[in-house]
Amino acid sequence: MDVYQKLAILTEAAKYDVSCSSSGAAERGGGRLGSALPAGCCHAFAADGRCISLLKILLSNACAYDCKYCLNRRSADFPRATFEPRELADLTVEFYRRNYIEGLFLSSAVFGSPDYTCERMIEVVRILREEYGFTGYIHAKAIPGASDGLTRRLGLLADRMSVNIELPSRESLGLLAPDKTKESIVHPMTFLRNGIAENREDLVKYRSTPRFVPAGQSTQMIVGASPESDYRILTLSEKLYQNYGLKRVYFSAYTPVVEDSLLPAVDTKPPLLREHRLYQADWLLRFYGFQAKEILSPERPMLYAEIDPKCGWVLRNMDDFPVEVNTADYELLLRVPGIGVTSAKRIVRERRQHSLDFEMLKRIGVVLKRARFFLTCGGVSMQALPETPEQALEWLVGPRSSPSLPDYEPEQLSLFHSALLREEAVPCLKGEF
């Protein structure tokens, strides 16, 4: 089998992994090829609109495990391929030289044993770092079950590592990934967290300490393969950020690739809108100072389909609005729909020089499409302000057949089964969401 075929098979096998960011890497000195961009860099966008930043590929797809949702599972009738470490290292360098990619995202099915798999991965990264002097970005998957010593060696060579949680609860994991346990996932995460924290201390003491996973760790959850609510997913993400210091939690709309009685039917469409809303909520957690319990609650466990989570929060907290642009705190400005981190910072910087009106807001690039309903400049609003949440909702999304907020509907979950989100109407694990 030549490189061309291996690349095709192992790319297909890796593409459902979401993470592709190349941000947060520190400059490594002493190399011969490559540099880091702190903000990351997307080098292409695939036909599905997803960014291609890294060469995202498996070292092998000959998996020893039999996870139900995974297309590389042992029982699948599927062509298998395994790269030689040197082949993959050469490929990475040649792609990198042509500015096709920002680095390598190396993952692998468990072939042989977890330790053996991890050793082969280390070999790829070692060739890149030591033989090619490659200082570009490398994201390596931690292999659950591999020994700590090996994970540590991998972490010293890579920029970022990740362990995929895959399913957001222990029950789903037991049902769909019988070879994995919560412990086998939590262990490498904890190991990475402690390693990163120790390394940070050591770096303060000794400048020459080799850096361990300098770009931090991330994880991924599949959305829509199992019955967990958005609330559960979001609180889990929040805990991961707080307790494990994760850089990112990725969500992956479940795309059915295998037939199994425990999984959504194969003709189910991936819940893309739900994934999108979850990312919006995730952003609110990380950059907008929101807490998961402000966005969702056990009584209202799903995000709205029609409006983004921030608008949802605003409609429940209409008393805090309108916000006065010239005096409001940065934190409050961030809570106005349509105003993001860039706009809020620009407003704060700008108003030190002079007071702002709506014309000026437009000029500095603040998008007023939604913000205009919730702002005043010097006590004057741009237009009439909504008086009730229903009115605000109508202005935000246009006239609706039913004037009530999704919130007030007795069975708000049914929202996801309406025409709006047919993709969600899937026969799921335990019946309904």
Binding site: D48, R50, T255, L273
Partner: protein, 307 residues
């Protein structure tokens, strides 16, 4: 506001424009246009032709550095690379205002005198970012070469990044839109004007191999169920496609049905991957169902850029 019935002409260089700025300050005038020699037609206005003068230009440049600070200098410098017209007046109006208010001027982007230059500098910065993303090199006998067609003259802003990244390589980037080239070899880089440049032919054996691999990777990594051409075009506008091997073919053919865009297609219920019989064979997967246009599905990494 431009009130005077006056047009300045300069030679198109940065020093030339700085000389014009010096003259405008000395004469206390604001012309209604500043243009490059030979551009624009006849005018009823008085035309003053200015040639670049190192002394006068130097005084303005020093003034910017010392009185307005490095942020303002950078804004003027990158504004000058703007390629869609109007940069000269924007710079002059910015400097008039900025010398009146001091270093705080760069953060007064809502000001009507300052805003145009701010926008231009931002557009140039964005174009530079796009270039860092989408430049594609090909290997010609061990050296790398790339061809770009940017809107703004960003080549000079790319040197730092690529010289660091490919520090042990030899490379050449040719900006065919502005007739400029950047060459790097052995730790030194040169930026030179070159109206036409005969580049070495692209089709080298070894290079074609990796280009084909890359095209195959590009096809295989996308998920058919998430087909979203608008999202792709938003992030990767078509004006860059001609210089990118993975999409150049699609651009040439115009619309390409989605089933041909993807490396693998779904067959019936299960999932199957078709193997390539040989390396160079183009894949033509079977037609597949593609979902209805969705409500702005957005991938996770797209949002990355808003940090």
């Amino acid at each position: 506001m431009p009130g005077e019935v006056l047009v300045y002409e300069y030679d198109g260089s940065y020093d030339g424009l700085m000389t014009v700025v010096f003259d405008c300050f000395r004469e206390k005038t604001v012309p209604c246009e500043i243009r490059v020699h030979g551009e624009g037609g006849e005018s009823f206005y008085e035309i003053r032709s200015v040639s670049a003068d190192p002394y006068r230009a130097g005084r303005v440049k020093n003034g910017i550095r010392e009185k307005l600070g490095p942020a303002a200098e950078e804004m003027v410098r990158s504004g000058f690379l703007y390629g869609e017209g109007g940069k000269e007046m924007a710079i002059l109006r910015f400097l008039k205002k900025a010398f009146a208010v001091g270093p705080g001027a760069v953060s007064m982007v809502a000001d009507p005198e300052i805003n145009p230059l701010f926008r231009m500098a931002r557009a140039v910065g964005n174009e530079r970012q796009k270039m860092l993303q989408f430049i594609r090199f090909s290997d010609v006998g061990g050296a790398l070469r790339a061809k770009i067609t940017p809107k703004h003259e960003v080549l000079s802003l790319l040197g730092g990044h690529f010289c660091l990244r490919y520090r042990n390589e030899n490379f050449l980037i040719y900006d065919q839109a502005h007739g400029e080239a950047l060459a790097y070899s052995g730790g030194r880089s040169v930026l030179f004007k070159a109206d036409s440049l005969t580049l070495p032919p692209e089709a080298e054996e070894g290079d074609a191999f990796y280009r084909e691999l890359w095209k195959s990777y590009y096809r295989h990594v996308s998920i058919a169920e998430r087909y979203n051409p608008r999202c792709r075009m938003g992030h990767m506008p078509k004006r860059f496609w001609a210089d990118m091997p993975e999409v150049a073919e699609e651009l040439e053919r115009g619309f390409v049905p989605p089933e041909e865009v993807f490396g693998a297609a779904k067959r019936g219920g299960g999932y199957s991957l078709r193997l390539l019989p040989e390396r160079q064979t183009r894949m033509l997967p079977e037609p597949m169902q593609v979902g209805e246009p969705r409500e702005r599905p957005v991938s996770g990494d797209e949002t990355d850029k808003r940090i």
